[in-house]
Amino acid sequence: MALIERPTPTAPATVPAVATPSTTFGAFRRPVESEGWKSWLFTIDHKKLGIMYGVVAIVFFFVGGFEALLIRAQLAGPDGTILSADKYNQMFTMHATTMVFLFVMPMASAFANYFVPLQIGARDVAFPRINAFGFWCFLFGAIFINTSWFLGGAADGGWFMYAPNSSVPFSPTNGIDFWVLGIQITGIASLTGAINLIVTVINMRAPGMSFMKMPIFSWMVLVVQFLLVFAMPVITVALFLLMFQRSFDATFFSVEAGADPLLWQHLFWIFGHPEVYIIVLPSFGIVSEVLPVFSKKPLFGYPLVVFSGAAIGFVGWGVWAHHMFASGLGPISVAVFSVATMAIAIPTGVKIVNWVATMWGGKLTFTTAMLFATGVIVQFTMGGVSGVTHSVAPSDTQQTDTYYIVAHFHYVLFGGAVLGLFAGFYYWWPKVFGRLLSERIGKWNFWTMIAGLNLTFGPQHIIGLQGQPRRMYVWTENRAGEGFFDLGFWNLVSTIGSFILGFAGLLFVYNIWHTHWSKNRPGPAPLDPWDARSLEWLTTSPPKEHNFDRIPTVGHLDEFFHLKYEDRGEGDAHEFVQVATADELLEEEERNADAHIHLPSPSYWPIVLAFSLPIMAYGVIYHTLLIVAGGAIALLAMFGWALEPDTAPDSDFDPPSEGGTELELATNG
């Protein structure tokens, strides 16, 4: 495998088991391979799953980006002809759906899956097979939604899918049915992943790691999982009601039958607002990891950063109707939600202050990761400021449904969430793949992204306040205005900016290619290239399958830093002197490796069960027989899963192959 340099075991492989593998229902041998495509297909290893989440998410980043470029190309000039009105509706719906559900959320999942167990000193998550199940649900759901493009057209009701506009009379193709069912399937991944990670963080921290010694990224992930576990059921209700409306002629959102369209809006946004914190908090966690490392200073006010993250998560439940200020809620509701929305700026501001204070007086090194992290501070703050203007309800009444809102959320989403994810890429790449991404290309990547981001979304503040509505497939010359406020000019600038963003994305891909496949690719990265602070760096690059040779006992926040540096200062003065390098620490770990390391075994039930879901979904749209078939597979898979022990008997494992299985490592004393 080109990307992963598997570490060879420290001692030669010794003992395979006698090969009498267990079988399921007398037929299928349990998968136990540690090499090759099967080891990916049936894996339950959080690291492999994290990589798969990441790869699929990046693919959809480009899919969603392509959809965006089509939108911007259509709006580059007046009376655009690239997209018809109908296609345009599909494009902005799928651009948002793809970016939110198929890129950002799974990308955060990728980082969370890969790094949370490592950061807390665990060997895997609490429920590895459920983890695998979640990934396959995500992949199959993502593919399922996108088949709609070829099966009559994609969903066209906007990613918020307001009803009754999303019901059959107004949207007769199957696009929205695909959307509803697809989001339900990917939603299962989110819900199960959330339960998994919460239990993992609560119950599988290394000895000595109290919550207030846990790395900040893991903290933010924990808050996000709580948001997910409680928000997903709400959109589940909304989606079922819409599905019943569309597929079974229920009248939940039909005004002529006496229904209230606001029911959809409430249900959607009770999910939808926590959703945006679900999107941005992981990136906040990444920034909070990266800034201290490249400032050579601990995170300023760690407890405050933790509590403000939790506060954002909590208060985030009380602001959803700020998406509904113009829907006729009435003055009391509007006032209450307006004030609550202003309140949420406070914990967010606390984070920004703590980040700046972390950098202040630090010994700063502007690696690409640090550039991206700093970029988040600047760009997210800009988005946050426009957000505060939305919280003022009368002002929002002018802004809503205009490009001013589009500007706001792209600044916080791209400037906040996406730049944060890129900081994560450049920071953690050497740990995951064993090679450092090029800093030279990385800096080009960063600056073109900043240029593109600001050129695309900056002007949208102007055109929005000048009245250009969202979701309009054309603008016309005679409405464009002139001078500084010529909408035409700014639309063109925005489009040019979006293509620069596209180029920036390609630079990232080029960086990956250069790092791994070019003639001039760099050699293996040092174990600790950034002189980092947290436990995921106390591993090989990439980490061994069992993560840690010896589960660490934790005595501090930033434990890895404290293993390398001893405080020789007196009293309140700190004087940190290096006493060990990462390489030395790792050698020590290997010398004291645990004698018996058991890992849960691969399984194919997760992928089989996940596969039954799109089958049932196609059945809902096309033919009941498919629902029955899918249901039968699901039932079979659930029984197979329940009957399968989490660890295969030793006799199941292959004879030693090049990489070795855990049994070999286990029998090394």
Binding site: P12, T14, V15, V18, A19, I198, W317, S333
Partner: protein, 130 residues
């Protein structure tokens, strides 16, 4: 390597007794109830039966109340009876009262959030306005 394996001439190394012992040592110990899960008292079967009878009686009371004209007190009374049943099952049948605080935290977070957001939503629909 040789003290851990036995050659049987079939091309595979077979674990010898030392390895087998090491593996057997790691057969999971017989399961038992973890004391930290259930720090509190354990009720007897009879106590649970009494509680069930109590809950049945409340149900009967609820139904009986729906046949009497109680005026404005009716709905609050029904809600109170409903809540008594709800919490009796949660705290005692589901053992939450006696179990570790973590379980309560996780469950009540969901419950409180649900009540909170949905009551607020119903407010915006003027549901509580006569």
């Amino acid at each position: 390597m040789s003290d851990l394996t036995t050659e049987l001439g079939d091309g595979y190394d077979h674990p010898n007794e030392a390895v087998k012992d090491a593996i057997e040592e790691h057969v999971p110990p017989p399961p038992h109830t973890d004391p930290l899960d259930h720090p509190g008292e354990h009720w007897s079967d009879l106590q649970f039966i009494y509680l069930a009878i109590f809950l049945a009686a409340i149900t009967a009371a609820e139904v009986a109340a729906s046949y009497i004209d109680l005026g404005p007190v009716f709905i609050p009374l029904l809600i109170v009876l409903m809540l008594i049943k709800f919490f009796c099952v949660v705290l005692f049948f589901m053992h939450l009262h006696f179990d570790n605080r973590w379980f309560s935290i996780l469950f009540y977070m969901g419950m409180v959030l649900a009540v909170g957001v949905y009551v607020v939503t119903m407010f915006t629909f003027q549901f509580f306005v006569k």
